[in-house]
Symmetry: C2
Subunit: 207 residues, 2 copies
């Protein structure tokens, strides 16, 4: 099933389906229709059916999709059944918030290492993670076999830090710095861009 080519737009929506399913499972709901998905997620139902068709036909006419089965299948496709260790670089405001963030599933995503260049922070512990010297980043990340790096340093340091992460063997970067990173094609990049979100938002507020 994983061999099938799933379009990026569909992949991008899978976390939303999953969140919606988790909510329903918590409430004990066993089924969900594509119409229910589409109204909850604000997507058209043809799109929902098309998205879900990529990973087998779990839908039953009149009943819909089995919530547990679909959630498990999506987790499998997204690779969420293993645990991902992450290295955070930059323990400033955003970085500290991420170290103590409860928004993501800690069984799947765990900040295992943290780095900063500030001598006052190095050696301190935050949420059970010791803050290490950023000068040791490459070696330590490689030693611990970390695959995901979180860049939470100021914009002007972000490129250098991301290069060090890649040198240490990281293949996925989540960037919080408001800057464009130039990274190798085989490294995946996700960007959390607060300014961009705000700038897009206000465009629509003028109407």
């Amino acid at each position: 099933m994983k061999e099938r080519r799933i379009p990026k737009e569909t992949i991008d929506r899978l976390p939303l389906y999953l969140r919606c399913l988790n909510k329903l499972i918590d409430r004990g709901e066993e089924n969900i229709s594509s119409e229910n998905f589409s109204s909850r997620l604000n997507l058209n139902s043809a799109q929902v059916r098309k998205d879900l068709s990529y990973f087998g036909d779990f839908g039953t006419r009149g009943v819909g999709y089995k919530t547990e089965k679909l959630a498990s299948e999506i987790r499998d496709i997204l690779n969420l059944d293993k645990s991902w260790s992450m290295a955070l670089v930059g323990v400033g405001n955003i970085g500290s918030a991420l170290l103590t963030y409860r928004g993501f599933d800690q069984r799947v995503f765990e900040v295992e290492m943290a780095f900063d260049r500030n001598p006052d922070l190095i050696g301190e512990e935050l949420n059970g993670v010791e803050i290490e010297d950023v000068n040791n980043l490459v070696d330590r990340v490689s030693e611990k076999n970390i695959r995901i790096g979180i860049v939470a340093v100021p914009a002007q340091a972000a490129q250098e830090i991301s290069e060090k992460l890649v040198e240490g063997g990281v293949t996925g970067i989540l960037n919080f710095a408001p800057t464009l990173l130039d990274i190798p094609d085989d490294v995946q990049l996700a960007q959390v861009d607060i300014t961009k979100e705000l700038e897009q938002l206000v465009y629509y507020l003028q109407k």
Copy 2:
């Protein structure tokens, strides 16, 4: 010019063009070609030319676009020439980080009010902003004529808070809570969804 219908995909990219332009302006560069844009932003140059064609033809063959003029035009289109006051709800880890965040242009985006329900926080001041009681949210936001609300409360409180913000007159919401908000169609919603970004990222790491 604002009357022209600009596709959402183009609007979504304007903040990236703007950031790129600001960088070049800082370095004293007066022109940029669409090829330069496309390599910096990892977009194809036909797409760049098409995007930029929506707001007048500033490009000159062989010279490209005037950086200052194009940046000013994009700011105008995005509505970034005025200042936007924002109300932050939830002064936890993420909320505190946002109150002291330096990533966005403070002349354009300013967190003017902050609310929490924790009595230990109410009355405290953070980065010059007094934290107020969330029970007064509707009245205070309406009084101050705030247009943008930032939701940084736990997921289970996010829906209620967003409804209060809308009741207070907010027309744009930036949501940091990992949950889907059900808000009126005439309210704009932007979502900063860290979990979603991570979940999308790890899909691509399995290869």
